[in-house]
Amino acid sequence: MSYWDIEKECMSRNELELLQTRRLKEAVYRMYAFVQPYKEKMDEAGIKPDDINSLADLKLLPFTTKKDLRDNYPFNLFAVPMGDVIRIHSSSGTTGKPTVVGYTRKDIDIWSELMARALCSAGASKRSVIQNAYGYGLFTGGLGVHYGAEKLGASVIPSSGGNTKRQIMLMQDFGTTVLTCTPSYALFMYEEMLEMGVKPEELQLKSGIFGAEPWSENMRKEIERCLQIDAYAIYGLSEIIGPGVAIECASKDGLHIAEDHFIVEVIDPITEEILSEGEQGELVISAVTKEALPMIRYRTGDLTVLNKETCACGRTHIRMQKVLGRSDDMVIIRGVNVFPSMVESVLLQIPGVEPHYLLVVDRQGTLDILEVQVEVSELVFSDEVRKLEELGAHIRRELESALGVAVKVRLVEPKFLERSEGKAKRVIDKRKL
């Protein structure tokens, strides 16, 4: 078992909570003094920085949401003058204005440190050859992993996303041992390898660190089996810092959140009530050491469960379950919550069916219709209509029993589904609610 920073990663819960309390108080003072929009929120709630004296007082503070970032586009939530900002990242902004985040030099140092910690936790070392296929640019994935991998001392191949044939060539020629990208892109690469006649067992690849989109336990098994590697989940979001907020260890039983920098809560996304450990809800994070963009009680929209038990790996930091879905990815069909990851799980259990699918939700009259489009791979294709109809009916029965809601299954041509080489789009909601 190797640690990047054993003192921090394995510190006692007591010490950790003292550190968190100190850092929280300090962050709230800074926010109140330098972030006008948040000061206004605190004033409205009748809270002064002096009211915050323990972690239990966190619940007194107002939430921050993606809407706050949009409303204060681009830099109004920054707590430092622009002269101190050395990097700006931004989300893709598919629903209106993008969200913008900034970093001071110290922020970048902390982020690199956390990413090095994460890579180390997932088995990487200075001897690793890390192929970083997260997109470089405004998206935090690429540069975030890159800086951490350099900090770790590994050899970094900044391949960025796309150009899959070249990715595979680099993997072969440079002896890549660790792959970092989205899980759906990892499977896409595998398909491309098959088409190119490249055998995964002939590569040096040992592990993969995957994140930026929800993926199921079955998908992990699928990736591990296909690429013959260990697959680790990483978690992060630009609003908090980027990748490296949480990472799995060798136990692969939840992701350790870097609690020396982030204070986490889980809430009921509707009532906003704080849930106890073990209950599923929306993850709320306070990034208390960030200088440029400190965050208090940021609502991530990610659904998870927290677990405080000390891990077999020795790390004391709280673990979150691999994200079960985004609350904005969640589809509610006739009162039933449906997550794409649940559909994926079901599909992976049907022999020959690949986890390439798309949920299309529509409303006919007053009735919501969930259509699951599933690609027909060569393994399940038949020249007989009857057999394909049986396949469709089988998938439908399995989905209905797992989801508890009526489903229409449509078989579609492979790769026809918009499979971007980054985040796979899983849901189209045509309802006008």
């Binding site: 060569e378 294709f381 020249d383 007989e384 394909l388 469709g392 078989l411 579609v412 790769k415 026809f416």
Partner: protein, 142 residues
């Protein structure tokens, strides 16, 4: 025995024209064709001049393709010709999955493509009952 190429098609405009264009551009001639369709998808079944090449080209173009064994039976080109063949097949209790007509003919006979449940059984029955069928090389040349 002959090889049929089967292609999965979504039921939407332009898919069939796309397949046929891909084949045309690869200089592959379609010799027989049938489409089985449902409200959501269709299965295109074709006999072509070069099945191996067609399979490869279509796969490269991103289609889901498979090769299926079928039999090209020579049916007397006269009233009742097909009925005679089908009756004999029925006597031999051969289950037919589907059948469709071939575009060309031999000198005297029409050709019908049969997909049967059990090939060996069908083959033996045809030989025993004197039903003629074409082998692959003859068929692709027609």
């Amino acid at each position: 025995m002959a090889k049929q190429i089967s292609v999965f098609l979504e039921n939407k405009a332009g898919r069939l024209s796309h397949v046929t264009r891909v084949l045309g551009e690869a200089d592959i001639n379609i010799r027989a064709l049938s489409i089985a369709d449902t409200s959501d998808f269709g299965i295109l079944r074709i006999i072509v001049s070069d099945p191996e090449k067609a399979y490869k080209i279509l796969k490269e173009a991103g289609f889901t393709v498979s090769e299926t064994e079928v039999i090209a039976v020579q049916v007397p080109d006269s009233p009742g010709g097909l009925a005679d063949v089908l009756e004999q097949m029925s006597e031999a209790s051969l289950n037919i999955e589907y059948l469709y007509a071939f575009l060309g003919t031999t000198e005297k006979d029409a050709l019908v493509i049969f997909k049967v449940e059990d090939f060996t059984k069908a083959r033996n029955a045809f030989i025993e009952k004197g039903i003629k069928f074409l082998d692959e090389t003859e068929l692709y040349k027609l």
